[in-house]
């Protein structure tokens, strides 16, 4: 799935209000990329506990990938109230408002793309990708990633970014051997 989107500096659209998105934190759009085996398969694995912090009116990290049954915690680090809700089909929920140092979590049982928002701060958003298998990874700042223990066979592997879209490659995985794949996504990092 690819989504056309325009990138822009938000400062112009939010006059009189400063949010610590740019400059304060070392960010890269690579952090928002998920590479995963997109061939349908269901492999149970141990549920994980992942945290998306609400810091400086921003969900950090912006994108997380988990297996089904995993729980995502949303602790509030800000002095202000935050809220977490989603309208996505895979998980429609609203955790309500809660203050600093409080935290609420949500266990995701269905695979899919779950877009998470804050009702109090309309510019905040995060994405939880839920997979029915553990074969996914988020590349490092060099753009490298490793997906271990992928079962052998002919598989489709996809690199995805919410705005830049996705690129899918065919891969033939052999037992005991590492297969190298290269993806190219039109990403632009903020200056």
């Amino acid at each position: 799935m690819s989504h056309p989107a325009r990138r822009l500096a938000t400062a112009g659209a939010y006059p009189g209000r400063t949010v610590g998105i740019q400059g304060d934190r070392d960010t890269s759009e690579l952090d928002n990329v998920v590479v995963f085996v997109s061939s349908p398969m269901r492999v149970d694995s141990a549920p994980r506990r992942v945290t998306i912090r609400q810091t400086n009116e921003e969900f950090i990290p912006h994108v997380v990938a988990v297996t089904t049954g995993s729980t995502v915690e949303f602790p509030n680090d800000d002095l202000i109230f935050h809220n977490v809700f989603s309208l996505s089909r895979a998980a429609t929920f609203d955790l309500g408002r809660y203050p600093r140092n409080a935290s609420k979590g949500r266990t995701f049982t269905k695979p899919g793309v779950i877009k998470v928002f804050c009702h109090l701060h309309s510019h905040m958003s995060a994405i939880v990708r839920v997979f029915s298998h553990p074969y996914f990874a988020v590349p490092n700042r060099e753009g490298r990633f490793t997906i271990p223990n992928v079962p052998a066979g002919r598989l489709e592997v996809t690199a995805w970014h919410e705005r830049a879209g996705e690129v899918t490659e065919q891969a033939i995985i052999e037992d005991g051997a590492a297969t190298e794949l290269t993806f190219s996504l039109p990403l632009t990092d903020p200056e």
């Binding site: 990138r7 112009g12 659209a13 740019q22 089909r89 905040m124």
Partner: protein, 586 residues
């Protein structure tokens, strides 16, 4: 005389009034016209300035309103549900049921916002301009799936634009829906550019509104004629323009893409109201001024004409009464009129003096004439003067007024003036007169009256001259008047005449003694002589009646002061028995 003047020429008062009013009225009308014209011009200028100022003010207000409107739109675009739903819409592509639910979520939010904003149409599109959902009364023009051309600002700022939907032009504010650093969709607030919009705006602007798209009028609050006049006209950004026959103040309120909104104010209409109001006030003031002018003219006319009127009335009264003895009263109206009055009075005095002088001359001449007449006959010499003296004495005794005494004296002096026409032969005839001769003698009173008649100042004396031979019994001449019909003065002179005749010598007899003459008077009282007059004469002191020349009679004169010895009682008796005396005389 007054009647003649009144019928010929108008009264001075009217003339002065008309003249004064004409002058004042003309000045007032001229001032009024000039003032009206000037006021109209100034009013029109003021109206233009006011309209320009108010339109500029409204343009300012309008642009501020639009800015606020945009800010409101931006605030609304921060709606988290809307953003969440639009953003989620992307990730749910492929699942129609889910997308439908998200669209209705968006629509629900839009309906809520529409209730707050009361915008004809609210719409949300994705980043390509495909409508996801709409709300508002005009949402039919913004159906889901329709494509709206987007104009995108690099910094994601809101854009004002004109969008054609179903052939209807909309003025729209497009605000990007921003999530993080990304634009996920577009939020539209749209108002149709129709006549209703123009009318609403016109009500706020208090001016007509015309909306032009590519130079074509697409909506207006103006009547059709003006709308037609606007077609193809290049309107200035701000200023005045003549459309049809009227002048308009024009101000462009806003311009988006190729659409422009103009405010139009008719100078003619606005000025008409203002000038008509002012016109009424001016007209009222003018009418008031004219009314005051009438009053002022009336006062001026009266001030000028009144004294002249008074003077002319005094003169008319004087002329009518022929009474020139009193001087004219000064009018006090003006120095000229007073001079006129004084001059007239001086003239009057001079004329009176001249008249008196000529009267005196006349009298002198006539007196001389009378004396000359008396002197024709030695027996009657001094007769007229004596009769005059005696008449005056009797008149005084009868307590007549001084002017009457004067009339009496002069009348007595002239009583025989008619004898000028009687021949000497008859007049001086020593023997008894024939009947014919006596008839000649009897003519002298009438003749005297005729002689004196032309002398107007002797009018009062005429009766004395003409009637001094009438007798109470009606047997006198020339008219045979009786008793009281004979004027008193004539009766007095008659007695005095008879007495002097009796006490004067004649050719045929000597002078009778006074007592005899008086007795004769008493004897003929009520017959030939008036009782009152005889009685008055009888009570006169002797010295006053005694003829100076009758020396022979002087011896007979009684020593007493009274004229006669008759006791008053007898006189009264006689007077009371006038009838008896009359009978005895017969």
């Amino acid at each position: 005389m007054t009647a003649l003047v009144a019928s010929r020429s108008p009264r001075l008062l009217v003339k002065v009034l008309c003249f004064a009013f004409a002058v004042i009225g003309c000045v007032i009308v001229a001032v009024f016209v000039l003032f009206s014209w000037q006021t109209n011009a100034r009013l029109t200028r003021t109206v233009v300035e006011n309209m320009e100022a108010s339109q500029q003010r409204f343009a300012g207000i309008d642009s501020r309103l639009r800015r606020e409107h945009t800010l409101q739109a931006m605030a609304l675009a921060e709606n988290p549900t809307l953003k969440a739903a639009v953003d989620t819409y992307y990730s749910e592509r492929g699942n129609e049921q889910e997308l439908g639910q998200l669209r209705s979520t968006i629509e629900t939010e839009l309906v809520k916002l529409q209730q707050i904003m009361a915008v004809p149409a609210l719409s949300v599109t994705d980043v390509r301009g495909v409508v996801l959902a709409s709300a508002g009364p005009n949402k039919e023009d913004w159906p889901a799936g329709a494509r709206v051309p987007l104009r995108v600002e690099e910094n994601g700022a809101p854009v004002e634009t004109v969008v054609l939907r179903n052939g209807h032009p909309y003025s729209a504010t497009a605000v990007p829906l921003v999530l993080g650093r990304d634009v996920v969709g577009e939020f539209f607030l749209a108002s149709p550019l129709d006549d209703g919009y123009a009318v609403n705006l016109a009500a706020e602007a208090r001016a007509d509104i015309a909306i032009l798209l590519d130079g074509r009028v697409i909506a207006s609050s103006t009547p059709p004629t003006l709308r037609r006049a606007l077609e193809g006209v290049v309107l200035p950004l701000s200023g005045t323009i003549v459309l049809g026959q009227d002048e308009y103040v024009v101000q462009r309120l806003s311009s988006v893409d190729s659409a422009s909104v103009y405010a139009l104010g008719s100078v003619t209409t606005a000025a008409r109201t203002a000038t008509s109001e002012t016109g009424w006030v001016l007209l009222l003031a003018g009418a008031g001024a004219l009314l005051m002018a009438v009053g002022g003219s009336w006062w001026v006319a009266r001030t000028v004409a009144r004294p002249i009127d008074r003077l002319s009335n005094s003169l008319a009264t004087m002329a009518k009464a022929r009474d020139f003895d009193r001087p004219l009263p000064p009018t006090g109206g003006s120095r000229e009129l007073d001079t006129l009055t004084t001059t007239f009075n001086e003239l009057r005095t001079a004329v009176a003096l001249a008249e008196a002088e000529s009267e005196a001359t006349y009298l002198g001449v006539i007196g001389a004439l009378a004396a000359a007449l008396d002197a024709r006959d030695p027996y009657t010499a001094g007769h007229s003067q004596r009769v005059a003296d005696l008449s005056v004495a009797i008149g005084r005794q009868m307590q007549l007024s001084d002017p009457d005494i004067e009339t009496l004296r002069l009348g007595a002096l002239l009583h025989d003036i008619g004898k000028i026409g009687v021949s000497d032969a008859v007049l001086r005839k020593p023997t008894k007169l024939t009947a014919e001769e006596f008839e000649q003698i009897k003519l002298h009173p009438t003749l005297g009256a005729r002689i004196l008649k032309p002398l107007r100042f002797l009018d009062a004396q005429l009766a004395i001259v003409e009637l001094h031979h009438e007798r109470p019994d009606g047997r006198g001449y020339p008219h045979g008047l009786k008793g009281d019909e004979i004027p008193l003065f004539a009766r007095i002179v008659h007695v005095a005449d008879a007495f002097d005749a009796m006490t004067s010598a004649r050719a045929y007899r000597g002078a009778l003694p006074v007592s005899t003459a008086v007795a004769e008077l008493w004897h003929l009282i009520g017959i030939d002589f008036d009782p009152q007059v005889v009685q008055a004469m009888a009570s006169l002191p002797v010295a006053l009646i005694e003829p100076p020349q009758s020396s022979e009679a002087a011896t007979d004169r009684p020593p007493s002061r009274a004229l006669v010895q008759f006791p008053t009682r007898v006189a009264t008796h006689t007077a009371q028995h006038g009838q008896v005396a009359l009978r005895r005389a017969e």
